[in-house]
């Protein structure tokens, strides 16, 4: 065998071709195969139809060294993957007594007789290796198809993932091409994707042309931009060194917008900065209504540095629970720098925190005015020093996006202030 360099992935099941189910296995397998140095050339979803499945399997075998198919290994007549894969590989089916005994024992342990249909799951293509399923009844199969390999895995992720990691990955590694794909992620916030891309693009070209060519891609979500770097090679240490140098170079070009180069989330970075200085934070949220605190407390152990907060959706709560002067709201409006300041200071003092964070804004769809359109958001931070810091921002997008942008901007204000 000349080494497994390329793969095709098939997801089998008519439910995956409706708007209600999405195949998540293919993305998971792509990451795992990449880790083994195997590129994915194509990926397909086919229904429970023998001709469709055979066509897709033939195409994938024509284009890639390895085909991994998921799903359609159950006991019912809808489950065709075993039979079709055997037919395409030109192999007959045999009853595997050991598999049958195992399935039967599984049912007996639960005090139930094995339904006759489950015997289908013990049919194995001649020459295939059975991959044991510790979690469910459907065994996987490793099927030689000439110079190529077809691997069949059960559809449920809880069955597929341990089976792949325990039984498939080591075999692929043994057949491997002796190269690995390695990756890094640079995470940034506070600037639009286009500005970050423009700043980074002169470096991209140099990285692509280096001794270890590094490819980059940029991904944006509301409030966060990620640069993904990847490189492949047989000398893993050399690849890692090249990637680390590239990360350093890009981070230097991008400057303080970068908050993480090691996979940490913004809330983790903020939490660690607070914990390192023995500070505890409280938040007063209006338009985000708890999203900032929910995100900070996504971090396990965050009770060490989060006190709590107040969701001041109604102005009466800003006044009553946070001590914002009614006259301040009257004269400047609820979405204003003086009110955000007073909210941050109020939540800090009333909840006995070291740092107070405040968010007030207009998430829409209604509530905008010519002077303060939808997307106007004010974030403020009070403490640990004496003077509060406040920023007025303007975001584009729908209600959910504006709320996510606002949370990212507020957390980033804490990060930059503590840095």
């Amino acid at each position: 065998m000349g080494g497994i360099r390329s793969a095709g992935i098939l997801a089998v099941g008519s439910e995956l071709l409706t708007p209600f189910r999405t195949d998540t296995n293919s993305a998971w397998l792509t990451a795992r195969l990449n880790d083994l140095g195997i590129d994915v050339r194509l990926s397909a979803v086919v229904g429970d139809d023998a001709a469709d499945l055979a066509g897709a399997l033939r195409l994938a075998l024509a284009r890639a060294d390895l085909v991994v198919a998921t799903g359609g290994l159950g006991p019912t007549s809808d489950d065709l993957t075993r039979d079709v894969a055997a037919a395409v590989a030109g192999l007959g089916m045999e009853l595997d007594d050991a598999v049958l005994a195992k399935i039967r024992a599984r049912f007996e342990r639960r005090g139930r007789p094995m339904p006759p249909s489950n015997a289908r799951q013990a049919q194995v293509p001649a020459g295939a290796d059975v991959l044991e399923n510790d979690v469910g009844t459907a065994p996987g199969l490793w099927i030689p198809a000439g110079e190529r390999i077809v691997v069949l895995l059960p559809g449920p992720p809880a069955e597929l993932q341990p089976m792949f990691d325990r039984l498939v990955a080591p075999r692929l590694q043994a057949l491997g091409v002796g190269r690995k794909i390695r990756r890094r992620v640079i995470a940034a916030t506070g600037q639009p994707e286009s500005a970050i891309d423009e700043a980074a693009s002169p470096v991209y070209r140099a990285l692509e042309a280096g001794a270890v060519p590094i490819s980059t891609s940029i991904l944006a979500s509301a409030g966060q931009i990620e640069l993904h770097l990847s490189a492949a090679g047989a000398d893993v240490a050399a690849v890692d060194r090249a990637l680390d140098a590239a990360v350093e170079r890009l981070a230097a070009v991008l400057g303080p917008v970068v908050f993480s180069v090691d996979g940490r989330s913004l809330e983790q970075v903020v939490g660690e900065a607070l914990a390192a200085r023995r500070l505890r934070i409280a938040a007063a949220e209006s338009c985000t209504a708890g999203l900032a605190l929910a995100r900070l407390t996504d971090v396990p152990g965050s009770s060490a540095w989060v006190v709590g907060g107040v969701v001041a959706y109604d102005n009466a709560v800003k006044i009553g629970a946070l001590g914002v002067p009614a006259a301040l709201i009257e004269s400047h409006g609820a979405v204003s720098e003086p009110v955000a300041d007073a909210m941050a200071e109020g939540v800090r003092r009333r909840l006995g925190a070291d740092v107070g964070l405040a968010i007030t804004g207009i998430a829409g769809p209604s509530g905008g005015t010519p002077g303060k359109p939808v997307g106007t958001v004010v974030v403020a931070m009070a403490g640990p020093g004496s003077s509060a810091i406040v920023r007025t921002l303007a975001f584009a997008g729908d209600r959910a996006m504006i709320r996510r942008f606002s949370v990212a901007a507020a957390l980033d204000l804490v990060r930059r202030t503590l840095a």
Copy 2:
């Protein structure tokens, strides 16, 4: 042409075969094609490789009446979809002067000369119809391929979606098979998927065997179970009547766990119940730390029935901001029915709301004890009547799942109490 009954979808772009990008166009197109009565037989992702793309396109054309391909219509040499589709359909390429003029004008409006590479986007297979792109430079194409049709659409969703709705859907409808696929969703909460499936399964079979056969599938997420019903037919009114009858029958079998049969979310249902009774709600959240309020305020206009709340992550906040007696926390623990009760009553009174909702629990991964393991959650509701209602629940899952289950249970407590 014998009518378009089936489709294949191809997404083109090597970036879609990495772990970092996911193709979202195929799911969107699946929903739209289903609405037109067209079943999706297979869906594939291929990289920027002419042979892979040609193979996938030939397979899709062999298996379906219509192929919709997205992406790979840009101006660079990576963008192969136009050329490959023309070759597979056996058509030569011609320069379309009108398309070229339009692209050139688009650049001129922005005060820039058209880069020469963009002229590639004006190459059109002979006999194809150009689908104008109002948003970007890449026009779409409607290409006859014998008895079949290949439609090429640009990859960016903001370009693809209006192009499909405005230019492709009406043509498909005109060629259509004269049937429509119609759907309903029954949303429930408060019972596990297996219990709901078991209760509904005798009805499924009757629905599948009816004069208008109705197919069902069940989908579960943390705290919510959905039954999806679909049926197809030429007589849309008859299909709708059959679906409405099926919804009524299933809702009767399932009982009060059903909170919506018309697409409304749980937070919308709760909000409408509050608004109808002119009640306003406040929430005190410990382990969920703002998620319940964030979810309630996802609903535009929720300021009419949400006052705000307190995130009482630290016990000092439960005592100071909510008035929970320290002795109560001392004797019963922060995760207990008396404390949840006091939190609900405290937030109701202090924030001047009609209804107070409280959530306190152990989301993990640490913090569990033998008596109160991770996943123990207490939800309580105070008002609008005199006596508070409290429930102790036990959830399985990770930190994020336990938090989502807790929010769903708390919102459902309000829904059921107001019903």
